[in-house]
Symmetry: C4
């Protein structure tokens, strides 16, 4: 099977997700600063989601870099991840339009949680497919970020019903943690290349 | 002609279809769980269609893998398939918003039926173009899935006017049948490669 | 400059145009056959536009096949063509929603006309860039389709105000004429290859 | 890291941005010339934004041509630029629907300004990554266009509150300045190639 087409399809879906989210920012009918202010919550939720989708694209990019053969399992694990990412425009719009209240914030964090689990499932599927000498397994080592994120998402879900703003803060922190790209894979690949030359 | 561009264009269209379907999940104005529940039917129809489009992308991927030269016939048969797939967002949204009632369910199954026929037309066009030694023809053998699906879709159309829920069950079963990717083509290609080395 | 990226970008834009047109088929609130019938005019205009965009993608594909170096002129002539194609979703939706009445039909034909002219401009820009031995110039010969189409579009614009249905017939005929892909380019390329071997 | 995937993703996002802007041209319910006239302001703002996005795609294309290795910094600087470009459909729709009044025009120019700064940030990030012998640095020389554009955008923001039409004129001039593609990079690359042969 062809990795290039899997990457191209994933890139296409992620590019569309990241771009159609902006359609949730409905154009206000009036042209004053007040009208613009009414779009502000949706804009803020858009910024957060743009960062999250950017992080997923970045990490997805790194992870697939280690893949040599695409199995049916990898293909469906990848589609499962894309499915949950495709819900971001909806949860983003709902959270923004309802000004970051409890239920929409909890749903937003819930979809982030399932997407994070889907990412781990894809990671494990690739590692299984690569066998005992999996380059991805060696590269990720003890992936503290992958372990921390779901804790923060679950905390955000629980906290949302008490204070939606603390929940938002948790989601922002979880994004900032991921903003640092997964350099371990790059480093490992580079180290391996140096050794083999 | 260039197969890469045909694949890239098909991937683009399929990626857009699978992603814009989520736009049918209109953001509810309220932020309560009840408001969320009102989106549930559209969400469920979205899940079903996401799986179907994923199946089509997967099988399309395998089928085009055997193509070496793109003829005008293949190009138009491919566009004909994409046309029917492009109606999925509409039928999905209509079925979801009307809570899986008879007519929308029958239309949903009808578009699935015509898309399945379009898939067979594309398959036959490729086989004809490949000539007597068609690798695709040998690979697909007796394609029981391709024969079973239309029967299930027709059954769903007929049953929808009696019980929309049995019709839904038939559509879910028809999707589950296809979830197993078309490994025969892979196997055949692999077997041929092994022999020739 | 890189032809691959020009093709990929054009494919992306054309794939989006052909797919978002379906969003103009607004999901009816009711779930009866009557509700479905109200979408029929937009569906019919969607079919016509899908065929036209498919034709443009197909011919664009053949034309760019002869390009070796992308100049700034080709790049902007290509964007100019994409601009007019990007108006298809609007004119398609407007014509469908107004049941093929005079002004929307005339506008639809007008945008087709300008897109056809933009296609010729792109063709001429490529021929100029290729110089005296232009492979595209030799391949297209006396392009009667390119000359016939604008006449049919202009006739459709004029006739629309008398009989919108005759105008539609002209637009359908103009599409059918183009459905036969531009085999001359293929033939010429093939002939040249045969000679040089 | 893989430059091809960065280009493909950027092309995808830019292709979607340039195409979904047309969705802001809401189909009028009536089918008369007056109904069409009501869409004219959104159409004009769409033309301006199409040209701007085309310019960005073109220049982005040239700039990335000089990149050999994609660093994490380049990846995020690129996403930052895409974020601001992704706001174009919103600002375009808002400006068009409010008939080019002061606040929407100022916001439109403001997003252009930040996008221009994001472009410079990406340029500088690439130059830093390329080190002292940066081919991009040598190619851009004294980039008067990059310096002039922000001045015109700032002027448009200030002037918008006095005369929205002069502000529009400034934005049109700033686009016309950029319409001439960045041939210096091409020339430099070509010159270097000639020398090395």
């Amino acid at each position: 099977m062809n990795k290039g087409r899997l990457e191209a399809f994933s890139d296409g879906v992620i590019a569309i997700i990241i771009t159609i989210m902006v359609l949730e920012m409905k154009v206000a009918h009036g042209g004053s600063l007040q009208d613009l202010r009414s779009v502000l919550p949706v804009f803020l939720s858009y910024v957060l989601s743009f960062v999250y989708v950017g992080i997923y694209w970045n990490n997805h990019h790194h992870m697939l870099h280690t893949v040599t053969a695409v199995t049916g399992g990898i293909l469906w694990a990848n589609l499962y991840l894309l499915f949950w990412l495709s819900l971001f425009p909806f949860t983003t719009g709902w959270m923004g339009e309802n000004h970051f209240t409890a239920v929409p914030t909890a749903l937003y964090a819930f979809v982030l949680l399932i997407a994070a689990i889907a990412y781990v499932i894809l990671q494990q599927t690739i590692i299984r497919a690569q066998g005992p000498d999996s380059i991805l397994k060696k590269a990720i080592g003890s992936d503290w970020k992958v372990k921390l994120s779901p804790v923060l998402y679950i905390a955000a879900i629980v906290v949302a019903f008490r204070s939606a703003w603390i929940a938002q803060a948790l989601l922002v922190i979880a994004a900032l943690v991921w903003l640092i790209p997964d350099r371990r894979i790059e480093n490992y690949v580079r180290a391996t290349h140096s050794t083999s030359h």
